[in-house]
Symmetry: C2
Subunit: 218 residues, 2 copies
DNA sequence: TACTTTATCAAACAACCATTTCAAATGAGC
DNA sequence: GCTCATTTGAAATGGTTGTTTGATAAAGTA
């Protein structure tokens, strides 16, 4: 068992790590080939060009992430609103803090956000927006019918934001605060906090929503 | 009045726009000089090198942003917790959505997060962390003494996250959803939502905090 | 064996970019 | 009008990077 991986496989694996670490622009094919112990021309031979290799890395990283941490992974039998919130936060935070293969997707996304390539549009419609649909239903049910679609979208933003924040504040955590890893317990604490905080937020929105709707007209 | 600005002034202004638009790495001195109608060697003559020009741009952008939208800008006479939350969100959102000079800081920050330069550490300690201290006091008072420092930090993250989200999701909004600008009314709606949502979140955390503290030990 | 396909390799190519160089122009002070 | 520091200009330098080329060898095929 464990035959030596082909050059193409080694290239893809090396590219995953290097693209996640440096982003598309700062990653060089030379370094990828070096890590993969392949010739400099191997990327163009096996993948066409740097961009097509990048696309392949995205596909690989997304599949790994949603398989390792599905969005409904920690949902109990008869879930209440807070369970949905917690399961969502739990999955996203694990993808963000994971240091292995399942963390690649979040790292790629984090790079892509600041210097988007053509890949972003595909990623967004295929991989990002569908994920949040998981929560929209639960939130809509919880808020009731008198709450408008705009309010629901704002609430979704507030919930997703609390998770995504830990993805985009990476350099602050790592470079400035010097904190590189998160323990399972720390991740759990954050997930429970986000679920609790969001539950309270949704309750408050539901309570005062008519006021907000009116305030929009002055 | 309105003498023609010096070459150095024109360079700085051009650099502000181009660094904000493309980030440090993708901005070229050639383009900056072209926009500033200066020679290619002008940057090195007036600022030393590209990096020192970048530092100068940061200083300029930060000063403009906090002056245009101070963090306590919309605080009423005897502010309550929700007023602090609203004023904070109001200021941050305006900095993020502003299309003029006062929007430069948020755009630079957004670029810097994904490919940090040496400037980040200085920016963080000088410009980012101090801003959130404005809220910490209000939040601590609101939550009472039985709530630990960790809970306060988590709540701060939740609040800041909701604002910062609109900074880091730029490409999704602009490229994928095709929404480029925000009206004053839209900004106001979002600010009120964040204040309201966060108020509810803080209430809920205060209510169940003893449970969370215990959960951390199992 | 003869031929084709696949894969690897080193070297070269072409484009881009920050920076340097050095000559020319400018302008204030004497 | 002369001097000298300041500023501008065009070209050149040196380095990096994605990509291509052509040679070489191995593996498959008839």
């Amino acid at each position: 068992m464990s035959e030596k991986p082909t050059t193409k496989e080694r290239l893809l694996e090396a590219a995953c790590g290097i693209f996640a670490e440096k982003g598309f622009r700062d990653a060089t094919v030379a370094e990828i080939c070096e890590v993969a112990e392949a010739n400099i021309a191997a990327v163009n031979y096996h993948f066409g060009d740097k961009e097509k290799l990048y696309d392949e890395v995205w596909r690989c990283a997304f599949a790994t992430a949603i398989e390792a941490y599905p969005i409904d992974g920690s949902l109990p039998e008869n879930p209440e609103l807070e369970d949905y919130l917690h399961s969502f936060a739990h999955a996203l935070l694990h993808r963000i803090f994971s240091e292995g293969e399942s963390g690649l997707f979040a790292k790629l996304l984090y790079r892509e956000m600041a210097s988007p390539t053509l890949a972003l549009e595909r990623i967004a419609t295929e991989a990002i927006f569908p994920q949040s649909e998981f929560l929209v239903g639960a939130v809509r049910t919880a808020l009731g019918e008198q709450v408008g679609e705009q309010q629901i979208r704002l609430c979704m933003n507030s919930i997703v934001a609390q998770c995504a924040f830990y993805n985009f504040s990476r350099p602050l955590r790592e470079r400035v605060l010097g904190k590189k890893t998160m323990s399972e317990e720390e991740i759990g604490t954050i997930a429970r906090h986000i679920a609790c905080f969001s539950l309270g937020g949704l309750k408050e929105i539901q309570k005062v929503d008519p006021q907000i709707s009116q305030m929009g007209t002055d």
